[in-house]
């Protein structure tokens, strides 16, 4: 009986609204009429992190704020701004975290150098083991 009552309570619980009731911004879900501009905007959107959903790009997210960011990017591209300018503007607001294309800096340096270091290490190990094999063959 109690379980049934709890279940009934669960069923009538209203979900907490975490999004606004306003319709999405004008260019949030509408492509730009100029295909070349839209392609530029889309490429940029895919590298911009959604700050409310964090694991997604704004191109992938249906959050209100991601929609507003998409609308802003499309509007600015249509107004003649370059993707690089818009990315710079976003980084000035949110830091490098906002972009999935991290610029080279002291913090990201290991990210770029690690593959080269590992490659060098592999070559060194391979050389050592080839040399040993040659010696045992002789």
């Amino acid at each position: 009986m109690r379980r049934a009552a709890l279940l009934a309570l669960l069923l009538c619980a209203a979900p907490a609204a975490a999004d606004s009731g306003l319709p999405p911004a004008a260019l949030a879900y509408t492509q730009l009429p100029d295909a070349a501009q839209e392609a530029k905007a889309k490429a940029l959107m895919e590298t911009v992190r959604c700050v409310v959903c964090q694991g997604q790009s704004i191109a992938d997210s249906d959050a209100d704020m991601a929609g507003d960011m998409r609308a802003m990017i499309r509007q600015r591209i249509a107004a003649g701004e370059t993707p690089a300018q818009i990315r710079k503007w976003l980084i000035a607001r949110y830091g490098d975290y906002i972009t999935y294309d991290p610029p080279l800096s002291a913090v990201t340096l290991p990210l770029w150098l690690a593959p080269l270091v590992l490659l060098g290490l592999g070559a060194w190990i391979a050389r050592a083991s080839f040399r040993r094999r040659r010696r045992t063959n002789e």
């Binding site: 907490a16 606004s20 306003l22 409310v52 964090q54 704020m65 802003m72 000035a92 607001r93």
Partner: protein
Amino acid sequence: MRRWLLWLPLLALLVVLGFAARELMKPADRTVYSAMVGQPVPDFALPPLVPGKPGVAAAEFRAGQPRLINIFASWCIPCIAEAPQLMRLKEMGVPIEGIAIRDTPSAVTAFLARNGDPYRAIGDDKVSRVQLSLGSSGVPETFIIDGQGKIVKQHVGDIRADEVDAIYQAWRAAR
């Protein structure tokens, strides 16, 4: 090949495990902070949203008086929890400018009638434009602005009862 080199992979594994354990015990702070702290407030002018209350314009912020910008919305649940703290700050004499994100006049009027109205002015930010220009990542958020219009502090999330004094002190220090 030297014998001790054999232990190197195990050592590397232990370093990775140690790193993972540390992150599990003490997860990194995933809050997205604004990079605008320390910078002047970007220029904007938001129209009023509710009758009888002016809109918010960044030009006023340089007039010498420090203030809070509170980013809120009627559809935001933590904003309801934050309302009593904002009322307390208002009673302590702190001017609070509201920026309503994606909101309607009727919804905000009802929200203020129910939770109290701590705002000196409320700007209507329909497409989060000003929110994005401040580097804010959600609602509610509060920025402390000094008398010259510079952002001196950002508070992400709702202000809890035990955080009111720190906010007040930071506002006083911004004079």
